[in-house]
Structure formats: structure tokens, C-alpha cells
Amino acid sequence: MRLSWFNVTSLTLGFAFLYLPMVILVIYSFNESKLVTVWAGFSTRWYGELFSNEAFLDAAWVTLKVAVVSSSFATVLGTMAAYVLVRGGRFMGRTLFSGMIYAPLVMPEVITGLSLLLLFIGIGLDRGVLTVVLAHTTFSMCYVSVVVSSRLMTFDRSLEEAALDLGCSPWDAFRLVTLPIIAPAVISGWLLAFTLSLDDLVIASFTTGPSATTLPIKIFSAVRLGVSPEINALSTIMIGLVTIGVLTASLATKRNALRQKKDAQAAARAA
């Protein structure tokens, strides 16, 4: 099908708007010159420099640690919260609780960060990796809980009852039946929490200490002293990683859907 000139224009404009800044950043990451805005030929020099820069590598390591640990905690807590809110039956204040779990979603990050900072000072907790992990767990668990509870709402309750009926304890029923079925939602909840933690700047800068500089904080403070080509290289790597992640996830989903469709057709033929 041929696109009309109008469609071509709007498509070009839209995508240019979205991707032009990133494309420029990627191009300049291969710039020979130290000056960010002057093109002086292709080179991978800044990638080399980046990988020998201890400060950046440390920050990347801290970020990864924080993201893995906080998203794992957030997934456990968020799944538990979702399970209780969807499955727990009626209890006092249930509506209030399910409303309250969404609060961090709409709360300005500055306020979340500030209140966490006050809390950590109040209880005398030294700021460092631990406090950032706690802060990230706090704000990302509500995202996990939203994703998991929407899956649980469409979950056929009689599956759990069947498991109990066949001799499972409630914990076994959750472990052997509920969890495997809601696993895709739990995993996407984890990925969401992981990404949120990976690129959070505001909350991390409130709750971190000198021992734990995350990558976004490092980039932000480096940029304030002037954009260096090293930052461009680092950003390009991050863009690449995110792209691979998103592509893998969507391809996996698509293949899964295709297989299910084929199975359903096979079943219809067998009937």
C-alpha cells in the first residue's frame, strides 16, 4: 500500500520529534573531537576512555546493584499487596488501602524523595546504598502491585480452589498454581521496577550518600560541568541496552501469542 503525502509527512515529523535527539547523541558519541558540537571524524576513542573511567564504572555497578535488589524486593512486596487486595476478601478499609497503594504513582517525586530523606534522618540511618534501595523499593512496589493486580482480577478463582481441593495447602496452591500463571505479570512488574530504578535521579539524589553514586546522579553532575563525549558514549550504550531489552520482550510476547493461536486452531480441528 502506498502512503499519501500527508501520511508520509506526519509519520516523518512524529518520528523525527521522537528520535532526532537520540540519533544526534549517538552520532556525536563517535566524534573524534573533544568538543561536543564540532565534528572531527569517526572514532571509538570515547568508548575506550569510558571503560577506563573508574568513577563511571563504579556508578554503573552501584546502579545495577540497586536496581536488581530494589526491583526484586518491590516485586515480592508488590505481588503480596496485590494478592491481598484482590484476593483477601472484604476487610475493614480495603477500598482505602487499594486507593492508597496508587498514591506514589501520582505523588511528585520530589515529595517522595524529601519525605524519605526526613524519615532516614529521623531514624538515624546512614545514607548510602541501603537507603537508595529502600527508597526505590518503596516507589516501585506500587507499580508492580498495579501490574500484578490487574492480572489477578482476570484470574479464575476456581483454579486456586481446585488446587486446595486436590490437597494443596494455601501456600502450595499459590506456589504451584497461582504464581506460574501470573508469572508473566510478575516478570513484567519486575522489569518495570528495574527500569524505574535504573533511571531514577530525583529520589536517588535525595536518599543517597557519598558512598553510593548512581549512574544518573553521576551523569547529571558531570553534565553540569559541561557535556563530555564520554557521556554521549555512555548514553549510547544505555540506549542500546534498552532497545535490546524492549525488542526481546516484544518478540517473545509475539511468538507466544502466535503459538497460542496455532494451538487453539489445532484444538478446534480436533474437536
Partner: protein, 375 residues
Amino acid sequence: MPQTKFAPWDDPNQKPLIRFENVTKRFGDFTAIEALTLDIYEREFFALLGPSGCGKTTMMRMLAGFEAPTSGRIELQGQDIASVPPNKRAVNMMFQSYALFPHLTIWDNIAFGLRRDRMPKHDLADRVEEMLKLVRLEQFARRKPHQISGGQRQRVALARSLAKAPKLLLLDEPLGALDKKLRQDTQFELMDIQEKTGTTFVIVTHDQEEAMTVASRVAVMDQGALMQVDTPEQIYEAPNSVYVADFIGDVNIIAGTAQPDADGVVMLNRAEGATPLRTRSEIAFAPGQPCHLAIRPEKIAISAERPEAADNMLQGKVMDIAYIGNLFTYHVELPDGSVIKAQTANTKRLASRSFTWEEPVWIAWTDSAGVLLDR
């Protein structure tokens, strides 16, 4: 002496497998079950029949352990099971939605309950194969539930719930999702499997034909109470109330007042000047007591000429004829405007029918054809 007829409920020495004793269940203000008492015996195929919201599913869920009675006792083999959680009961359930585990194969679905009992691997495999054979699904063992048809899923659900050899199997509208032809085949298969395994089955259904076909006894329920508990024949031939008569099959209900006669015969007086109707009744009526005559359409004879002699005969005219292939149902309008349905088997050819619309006819029945009901 060998007992030929299966009727443990008539034997006072038989101990029931299940006993509901004065069981009441409330959900908030709503009473789902009201002071219900019922015995179910071993090897029975027992049907709970009623419209939706009559409490039949609540009874089943109380047996499975998903609901606890508000008051009263539920006994399984003489033991109160109120405090026994569902996973510790020798009771299994087949769910209306089948509730097959979508992430497990058919084989693993059937093995699920056995694994929970830590059955040795070898015995487990034998048992699963036995179950697959019972429901004729051997070649589908490695498939996932979404890779088989609805009828096959239904059989997997049955095999899974039977695998642990429960004392009692609960079936919640087990055939509701199947189309009519498949449903009829499956009904006979269910009866066959019930006989083979010797398990006590309790089935919940709103389909009266299904209940009549499969069950050894049927409990007709309405609004949390048992209306009648009896064999399908008794329920059909001798309903104890207008509700039961009307719920099961097609019936004519004629209202009037009783006028007892000799030898258990009661005359039913209808409106002023109408011929009284003669009925033999097991229950006694006081003179003038309001009552209803329930009579099945197929027990009413219809003819163009006045019958020679009959206990009851009325003249009317044909208002409507319903042709359902094997049966004709005539709607006969009486002089007082009421309509009586009479049914005849379609043994003659269509062309040789001796009366048609608007023609005067006689309808007749014997004094034992109907039952006289006081409620």
C-alpha cells in the same frame, strides 16, 4: 437375600455417607440455606436440582469445604467436617469452569492431586494411565488444556477429580458448557463411570432432564429449602407440591376445592356448574379445602368422539397444536376459558390426523392419572 433394587434410603439400618443436620448458611442478610436436613448414601448418584440462586451451589461448596455453615452440622461418615479444610477432605470437586491448570499438561493435571499425597512415582504413573484410559484420552496426555476441545477438557476435569479416589465426588454443572448432543452422550458416560468406580456422586444442575437421567435420587430445591427428595420416577409421578410438579416436565394444574368421597377418592370442584373431577388421593383432604390437580399432558387422552366410559371427561375445542416430531401437544380450550394440554405420540401419519384447529374434541383421563396437591 440378594437385594436387586438400589435403595439404601429406604433401609433404616444404612448409615448415610453425608448428613446435613439442620444446616443454615447466611451471607450477610441473605439466607442461602435455611435449616436443611438431608442424608446422602454411599454409591448414590445424587442430584441437587433447582433454579439459580436456590442454594444448590452453596450446599456443594459447603461439602467441598469452601464455605462453612452458619449453624448446624455436616457429617461425612459420621464425623463433623466443619473444621476440616478443603485440602484435608476425602472429597473432590469437578468445577463448572473445569479449572484445569493451563500451565500443566493433561498428564500433570491428573497427577496433581496424587503428587500432593506423595504417592510413589511408579504407582502414580499407573494411576494416571488408568484415569486417562477411563476417560479415553490416552493419546492427549502430553497436550496442554488449551490444545484440546471442550468435551475433552470436561473429561480431563473428571479424571483429575476422580484420580484420588475420593469418597465423594462433587460435580458443579459438569455438562453446562457442552452442546446438547455431546451432553446427552456424556450423561451416559458419567453414569457408566460412576458405576465402574463406585464413587458417590453429588451433582448440581439446573437442567431437570439431566438430573432425571443420571440421578438415583433428586432433591428439588427452592430458595434455600428442599422441596422434595425422591427418585426421579417419584418426583415425576408423585410430586408433593405444585412447585415440584411445575418445575419437572410439563404439567396441567387445575385449581379447585376438595370434596372427599369414599375409598380415597376426592372430587375436585371447580367453578360453579362445572363437572367435578374425580381423583384417587393418597393424602386426605377436608371438605372445601383448596387444592390443585396436577396431571401430565401425556396422561390425557384426546378423541373426536365422546369416549365410552372414563373417570373424567371434558369437552373443549382445539386451540393450538404443537408438533415436535415424535409428539403432538394439543392445547384444548374448555368452555370456561382454561386451557388443558394433552399429548399423544406421533404414531400415525400427519395426513390421517382426525381433528384439527377449532374442532370440538373430548379429553379424558382416569382417576389415578393425576395427583391432588394441597400446596
